[in-house]
């Protein structure tokens, strides 16, 4: 008896077939539109990241892109129905829907911001994003508690509440970040920048991404027991985030020249897709080890039944690494490309770079260990846990203990 059942998509209908595919193409068109505007638009892409998105002409480019996408998508889908079942479309559309929803949510939140003359760089305590981040903290912590409770009361509503509050946490955190982006421009157009420039901001990003990766696996494979391991990891981060903000690291600060680059907006989030997935893999690994331990101790069948089987947990861990590894590889390459543009060389053996390489090699070794014979689930589970410790060191330890060119992230 396993916790993973056959049904894979709960909202199957709207993500499949013509509605799903046409929507997918619309989003693609909008993204192409905004990219084209960035490259060929009248003012081009300047330093004013967010303002650039809000100009009337950018809206018209996005609109034209979206319409063209919608038309192409509908035509293609009608001409060749099998294309509408394409994996890329079916799997990605829910995420794009979520992104749109998050943007709309942010737009609503903007209405509750203080009046324009109440923005003050020197005292940022009245900004709304702070309260929304606090909402995220609370819901994520609650979610962790609920997931743990769910292990002992699988039949009750607790599990669903856990999932729901994790979702609330993601939307609160994500929209707070977007809001912070907006606020940074309201403080001073010169200061405005994407909210991925310091440890506090990327922590929030990390919580959201980790939780999204986890929830994706949860909803596809009904692996809710894993949440009792992943969300506590996120909660640990939440406490650290609270500590950071209590020590004045939560302020919006202007960007040093080295960070004034569009690469920042691509490199940093991509890195956190890697980190987040590795955190989820670690959660799967811990769930594996705990289940294994419970089995040995002869725990109650009802407790065991909540968990996916050992084999499934092993697969889930691999699944998470399979998301994280390519993302992390790409992020490291993007970082190298940025370094080549900012520092004069794509690789400088800077501590952060070197630790990224170490993380990468650790998971590379994990992948090989999986393929080769003789190693089984137990050791692999440990590997994902150890790998995550290496990741955490790369993320925080390097900033605390080692200096280097990435020192703008210093504590």
């Amino acid at each position: 008896m396993t916790a993973i059942t056959a049904s894979r998509f709960t909202l199957d209908g709207i993500n499949r077939g013509l509605p799903g595919f046409a929507r997918f193409c619309t989003y693609l068109g909008a993204i192409i539109g905004v990219s084209a505007y960035a490259m060929f638009g009248p003012d081009g892409y300047g330093d004013d990241g967010l303002l650039f998105f809000l100009t009337a002409s950018s809206f018209s480019w996005i609109g034209i892109g979206a319409l063209a996408g919608l038309a192409t998508g509908t035509a293609l889908g009608m001409a060749k129905p099998s294309i509408t079942e394409s994996k890329a479309s079916v799997n990605i559309v829910p995420f794009l829907d979520g992104a749109l929803l998050m943007i709309l949510l942010t737009a609503v939140e903007v209405l509750f911001e203080p009046a324009a003359d109440a923005y003050n760089y020197l005292d940022q305590s009245n900004l709304l994003s702070g309260s929304i981040i606090m909402t995220m903290n609370v819901t994520l912590l609650a979610s962790a508690l609920l997931y743990i409770t769910h292990l002992f009361a699988p039949a009750s509503i607790v599990g669903r509440l856990a999932t729901a509050s994790a979702w609330v946490g993601i939307y609160a955190g994500g929209s707070a970040l977007l809001l912070r982006w907006y606020e940074s421009y309201m403080l001073d157009v010169e200061i405005g920048h994407a909210p991925v420039s310091n440890l506090y901001e990327v922590f929030i990003l990390l919580f959201c991404i980790t939780t999204i990766v986890y929830l994706t696996l949860e909803s596809r494979y009904k692996a809710r027991a894993m949440g009792a391991f992943v969300l506590p990891l996120v909660s640990a981060g939440v406490f650290f985030g609270i500590w950071l903000s209590a020590h004045g690291h939560a302020e919006i600060k202007p960007l040093v020249p080295a960070l004034q680059s569009y690469w920042m907006k691509i490199h940093v989030p991509m890195n956190f897709v890697g980190y987040g997935s590795f955190a989820v893999a670690c959660g799967a690994g811990m769930a594996y080890l705990v289940r294994e331990h419970l089995e040995k101790r002869g725990a109650k069948a009802s407790l065991l039944a909540v968990f996916p089987s050992l084999d499934q947990l092993d697969q889930l861990g691999y699944k998470a690494v399979a998301i994280g590894f390519p993302a992390f590889t790409l992020a490291t390459i993007l970082g190298a490309a940025w370094a080549a543009e900012a520092w004069g060389g794509y690789w400088s053996w800077d501590p952060k770079e070197t630790w990224a390489l170490i993380v990468w090699l650790t998971y590379g070794a994990y992948l090989h260990v999986r393929v080769s014979h003789g190693w089984k689930g137990h050791s692999l589970a440990w590997w994902t846990v150890a790998g995550f410790l290496v990741t955490v060191f790369c993320f925080i330890g390097v900033n605390m203990y080692l200096s280097g060119l990435h020192s703008y992230g210093r504590l």
Binding site: I4, A258, T329, T362
Partner: protein, 563 residues
């Protein structure tokens, strides 16, 4: 490989998975050493840090510049050799596997499948069924055959999966080759050019020593500009550069900023840093006992020596802006520019050498002029600066007069002390300096200054206080010049790596077999499938396949399509 030669066992081992795992682990551990041990620091620091014994051990292992040691290079070469052997052995096998697609499958092989289902349907003709199944599985690339009265259909998806392996592992080779090319034939070094100056030599670390290289062109810095945020953080620095070859300008007045380098003849020129390029400064040496002063001219990075007193001033830096947060801890921040300042080290006979930051403007607090200020660091460390208010405004001669008059008036009252006496003395001094004219409005401020000066001026050990009087600022721009002939190779390798990984992880190779056998009036159907990745999701996919095939084959469906 038929010939069993002596190297076969080594060859096998070189391409073994355990070696790959070991290599990756060892590389990770080795890389970690270099981040824990700070690289390329001053040798003397290492010696004091580790002591002679460990210092020598570390030096012989090259641990202070370990990413360029032969043994680290050897590790990378080993990885390359291993990858080559790996590819050499596996690629032909994989290519063959991708090409050969056996259609006929034995019952025994089918039994080994994770996903297998066998069922019977009546009233279906085998040949017709084959056509129907074929159509239902149109999104699978199919092959079919007939043998021993059985119809076999084989379907494949993601046949390119093994290309992922090939791409990923060759990409690592390509990247390493690119890196080697860059290390071998490229360079990377720094050049500092003062405003209106020209230079053509870059400096860089080679091992633990500094080396230099002459560029085939000259770089001239036409101007340097720096912009600050209100918090005093640099917002942007911008150099206007010209490039000259044989005295002729080939690139004229081009701006570079951080993240936007200049490219000339394969060399990239980056804005890396900036600093004082030897600004001219005029210092006013104020004698704290007589109030007299004289001016001297010197430059940043020069040492001015006074033959009379033996005192030397080593000018270390000049900054036109000094933005500080003036708020008390816990208050909202208040940024304030203290104006130009010069930094110097004072040395002299019987003097403790200290580092001083001397401001040109007087210090203003809450709108009041608090006189001139210096900051003193007893350790010489910039973090240890302590404000040292001098009290007097040396630009106002009356300040000095008031100060001496006050001192005189006080000395007349040796037996009186406290507020009252101070007031009386100050009143007397005011009358002496300003006569019976109207007192200046800011006399209270002046009183504060004079009182402050009473405490601070007399306790200074120097014969004079060097104050900043005038300056003519000049920056240098710190450039980084690089050439890397292997960089594009690295980018190609990186692209291959990412594409390869995506194929490897997201294009699993899925195979399915449908075996149809006529049985009585109907047909026996066997559906078997397997995948090499994403085993979890495949469970579900298989169930969907099953439904699809079964529904397509059910007689009522056939009838409907016939009708």
């Amino acid at each position: 490989m038929k010939t069993q030669s002596w190297f076969k066992p080594y060859f096998d081992r070189l391409s073994s998975m355990s070696l790959a795992i070991a290599l990756l682990t060892v590389l990770a551990l080795a890389s970690a050493i270099g981040t824990v041990l700070k690289q390329n620091q001053d040798q003397a620091d290492y010696l004091t840090q580790f002591g002679a014994l460990w210092y020598n051990v570390f030096v012989s292992l090259g641990l202070f510049d370990m990413y360029h040691t032969p043994w680290f290079f050897g590790l990378l070469v080993f990885l390359m050799v291993s990858l080559c052997v790996c590819l050499w052995r596996n690629v032909p096998v994989f290519l063959k596997e991708m090409r050969s697609r056996k259609v006929v499958i034995t019952d025994k092989s089918l039994k080994g499948f994770h996903h297998l289902k066998r069922w019977k349907l009546d009233g279906v003709d085998a040949a017709e069924a084959k056509a129907t199944v074929s159509k239902a599985l149109s999104d699978w690339s199919q092959k079919s055959e007939e043998e021993d009265g059985r119809l076999y259909i084989r379907g494949d998806k993601g046949r390119s999966h093994k290309w992922g392996y090939i791409l990923v592992h060759s990409a690592i080779l390509v990247i390493l080759i690119g890196g080697w090319l860059g290390a071998q034939y490229g360079f990377r070094g720094t050049m500092t050019v003062v405003e209106n100056g020209t230079d053509n030599t870059i400096r860089f670390l080679k091992g633990t020593k500094t080396d230099q290289l002459k560029m085939p062109f000259d770089v001239r810095c036409d101007s340097f500009f720096i912009d600050f945020y209100p918090t005093g953080m640099p917002k942007e620095f911008r150099s206007t550069l010209s490039i000259l070859e044989d005295g002729k300008v080939v690139v004229d007045h081009k701006d570079i900023i951080v993240n936007e380098p200049l490219f000339y003849k394969g060399v990239r020129i980056y804005q890396a840093s900036f600093g004082d390029g030897g600004s001219a400064v005029t210092l006013k040496l104020v004698d704290p006992t007589s109030g007299k002063s004289r001016s001297i001219n010197t430059e940043v990075y020069k040492t001015w020596k006074d033959p009379e007193t033996g005192i030397s001033l080593e000018i270390t830096n000049f900054r036109p802006f000094n933005i500080e947060n003036m708020a008390n801890p816990g208050e909202a921040k208040k940024f304030h520019d203290l104006g130009p300042a010069v930094e110097y080290v004072v040395r002299g006979p019987n003097l403790k050498s200290v580092k001083v930051k001397s401001f040109m403007n007087t210090f203003t607090l809450d709108g009041q002029n608090r006189g001139h200020m210096i900051m003193v660091s007893l350790t010489g460390d910039a973090g240890d600066y302590q404000a040292y208010p001098l009290g007097l405004d040396f630009d106002q001669p009356t300040d000095w007069k008031l100060y001496t008059a006050f001192a005189e008036a006080l000395s007349k009252r040796p037996d009186q002390q406290g507020k009252e006496a101070n007031f009386a003395a100050f009143r007397e001094a005011m009358t002496k300096v300003f006569g019976d004219q109207k007192r200046p409005d800011d006399f209270q401020e002046r009183g504060m200054r004079v009182l402050q000066a009473m405490g601070s001026l007399s306790s200074l050990p120097w014969p004079y206080i060097p104050m900043l009087e005038d300056y003519n600022q000049m920056y240098y721009t710190g450039l980084e010049l690089t050439q890397d002939p292997g960089m594009n190779t690295v980018w190609v390798g990186s692209a291959l790596l990412v594409i390869g990984l995506c194929i490897m992880f997201y294009v699993p190779h899925r195979k399915l077999w449908v075996v149809l056998k006529a049985e009585g009036k109907g047909v026996e159907i066997t559906l078997g499938a397997m995948t090499n990745r994403n085993k979890l999701g495949f469970e579900n996919e298989f169930n969907q396949l099953l439904t699809k095939v079964d529904e397509a084959l059910r007689p009522q469906n056939n009838n409907r399509s016939a009708a």
